[in-house]
């Protein structure tokens, strides 16, 4: 418990930094920020109202305080297009993005880790060369392009995949919201039809997300395993006659996963970034496409809200990685 608190404290400077940067971004708008938030169609009186409401006529430090207080109260502004509060919009769409991102991560990990281990245990085999080619190519793939390619091949040409328009086919109704994750919610009410429908829509976008992060994960796993397999303690394990399984999993892999875990931070950064692109290609109703629509409509409050929520999510994810690492590695001290 003390460990968690200590780690939380260490994450605080990042949190503060994020809030400061988003504040600067909201106020760094060229021209008159009030006009931007009021919208293109606003009258001069409306713009003045917005200016006073947002405290844009106040000195900067006061504005910052105002901003932080507003954030804490859930007042992140309103969307000009929908008229809804930004927090409401984001809360409604967040599960869609999270479901997609988590599925992408799960798929990537379940392929990359075994591949990396295989490449390390069989050096110079086809698996090893395959992984090396994959990792160099993988980081060159433009996410939006691979998404489109997959749609073309698997939807248009082969007809295997579902059409890329959202989380569910138009004729299927979404399950009642418990978590917002359709996969979980449909299972909770035992509705397998909706479950499969959701899965069908999820496949292509998930694969697109996974492909992008597969490369750094597989590369790191391979490199880490190679290092660990030639270590002294693996030699001791072998010299003690332990089974290959024990040597590989209990001795080698557990140690090799530690550097891979530290790579996860970068992986999440890529994942959250490509989330936006994938949502556009597959018309996914998440916060990414919400941000894009708002951008096009010059609706700025939602875009700021999007950046802030993604950043907060990222801070939380990094904190989780930190905690996981501390839990797995007994050598890491609390102050570390």
């Amino acid at each position: 418990m003390k460990m968690i608190l200590k780690r939380l404290l260490l994450a605080l400077p990042n949190l503060i930094g994020v809030i400061i940067v988003t504040f600067v971004l909201t106020r760094a708008l060229p021209g008159d920020p009030a006009a931007y938030f009021a919208g293109a169609a606003a009258t001069p009186e409306a713009v003045e109202q917005v200016r006073v409401k947002l405290g844009l006529d106040r000195p900067l430090p006061e504005q910052f305080l105002h901003y932080v207080v507003d954030l804490a109260h859930g007042d992140w502004g309103s969307s000009l297009a929908t008229g809804q509060k930004v927090t409401t919009e984001i809360a409604a769409r967040l599960p869609a993005s999270l479901e997609l991102t988590l599925c992408g991560l799960l798929l990537a990990v379940s392929i990359a880790l075994p591949l990396g281990v295989l490449a390390a245990t069989r050096p110079n085999s086809w698996a090893d060369h395959g992984v090396r080619v994959l990792t160099t190519m993988g980081v060159s793939l433009p996410t939006f392009f691979t998404g489109l390619l997959l749609v073309y091949i698997f939807y248009y040409k082969l007809g295997w995949a579902a059409s890329p328009n959202g989380r569910l086919d138009a004729f299927v109704t979404s399950p009642p919201t418990v978590t917002g994750f359709y996969l979980i919610d449909s299972l909770l009410i035992g509705d397998l039809a909706v479950f499969w429908a959701t899965l069908k829509q999820l496949i292509l976008p998930t694969v697109t997300m996974a492909l992008f992060v597969l490369a750094p994960l597989a590369r790191m796993t391979r490199a880490s395993m190679l290092g660990v397999l030639s270590s002294d303690f693996v030699r001791t394990a072998r010299a003690s006659g332990l089974t290959p399984g024990t040597v590989l999993y209990t001795y080698a892999l557990r140690n090799a996963l530690l550097p891979v875990l530290t790579t996860m931070g970068m992986v999440f950064s890529f994942l959250l970034g490509s989330n936006v692109l994938v949502e556009k290609v597959f018309a996914w109703p998440g916060i990414g496409s919400f941000a894009i629509e708002s951008l096009v409509a010059s609706d700025y409050a939602p875009v700021q809200g999007f950046v802030l929520s993604m950043a907060l999510l990222y801070v939380v994810l990094n904190l989780l990685i930190d905690l996981a690492y501390t839990w797995l590695d007994p050598r890491v001290s609390l102050d570390g």
């Binding site: 072998r238 024990t246 557990r254 140690n255 007994p330 050598r331």
Partner: protein, 327 residues
């Protein structure tokens, strides 16, 4: 120190040759190695760095580097040839019949696993111990190597223990299933002198208790002199002299052994009197290596030394040397 026992040797190595295939050529790491080891005996293998001592040890257990190839020879242990055993058969022998401990004990233990659990892994594998007995047996192993407060140390991680303590854990691991042969590869290098002595005392008393044979690989002649029954001297992949410790040290026959002893601080009367051995080890990648690899550095060198393959000369039935000009 006992006189060698006149019975079937525990380990008998004959004509062992090993090479490494590397991108820059073949390294002829071992050539015609022959020695035997009796039950309860401690054999010291001494030599310079790069003489092939560790390579020899690794080949006994079959844990050599992937590029290593045994090109000739046998290593008879318990009626079977270790060099021809399958990986599966070797896994049964390692840790149960033949164990090994290494230098740098801190890095030789899994850093993120409790030491007690690491001992349990070996017990589970070879001794078919299960359940509650496991922890007790593991703590017993720790007691045997005289670790203070073994129940508490059981839960420790390697980074929390000193180098000497880690070496004791490694010994506990190696001896958990009471093997008949222990190979110790430079077990005290890197430890301070007091700890060195303690570890060596531990090793020799445990060996005596269990009537276990051991091979001590070291570059420290004084250590070998103190604890070993027999000494084998290696140079550039050749085993050039082998015999009872007292004989080899007090009346060495091979010119290299003589110079090795003369360059040891303990035996020389002063630092000024110490004479280093001239020259360097030959490059073992040359395909035109002479039959005697010490020829290039030897003061007794004659043209005849390069003529024919080096045989083994028996000074006494128990003391052999490979030199045309042994005296």
């Amino acid at each position: 120190m006992n006189a060698p026992v006149a019975s079937l040797p525990l380990l008998h190595v004959a004509d062992l040759s090993l090479e490494f295939r590397t991108r820059s050529g073949t390294v002829f790491a071992l050539e015609n190695i022959a020695f035997s080891l009796n039950k309860g005996e401690m054999l010291g293998i001494v030599g310079e760095s790069g003489s092939g001592k560790s390579v020899l040890a690794y080949s006994m257990l079959g844990i050599s580097d992937g590029a290593a190839r045994v090109t000739a020879g046998t290593a008879m242990f318990g009626g079977a040839d270790l060099l021809k055993a399958s990986e599966h058969e070797l896994r049964e022998i390692r840790g149960r019949e033949v164990s090994m401990i290494f230098q740098s004990p801190r890095t030789a233990l899994n850093p993120i696993r409790k030491v007690g659990h690491q001992i349990e892994d070996v017990l589970k594998r070879h001794a078919a111990v299960r359940g509650v007995d496991l922890r007790e047996r593991a703590i017993d192993c720790l007691k045997r190597v005289r670790i203070p407060d073994p129940a508490r140390r059981y839960d420790a991680y390697p980074f929390e223990l000193s180098g000497g303590m880690c070496q004791r854990i490694l010994i506990a691991l190696a001896l958990a299933c009471q093997p008949s042969l222990l190979i110790a590869d430079e077990p005290t290098t890197g430890l301070d002198v007091t700890t060195q002595a303690a570890i060596m005392e531990l090793l020799s008393s445990l060996a005596a208790e269990q009537n276990m044979a051991s091979i001590l690989i070291t570059h420290d002649l004084a250590l070998a002199a103190q604890y070993c029954d027999r000494i084998a001297v290696m140079h550039a992949g050749h085993l050039i002299e082998c015999g009872p410790a007292e004989e080899v040290l007090n009346a060495p026959h091979h010119p290299y052994t003589r110079r090795l002893i003369a360059s040891t601080p303990h035996t020389a009367p002063s630092i000024a009197a110490m004479s280093p051995i001239p020259g360097n080890l030959p490059d073992l990648r040359r395909s035109d290596l002479p039959p005697c690899r010490y020829a290039g550095r030897c003061e007794r060198f004659e043209a005849a030394c390069n003529a024919a393959p080096l045989p083994e000369f028996a000074i006494t039935p128990h003391h052999t040397v490979r030199c045309w000009n042994a005296e």
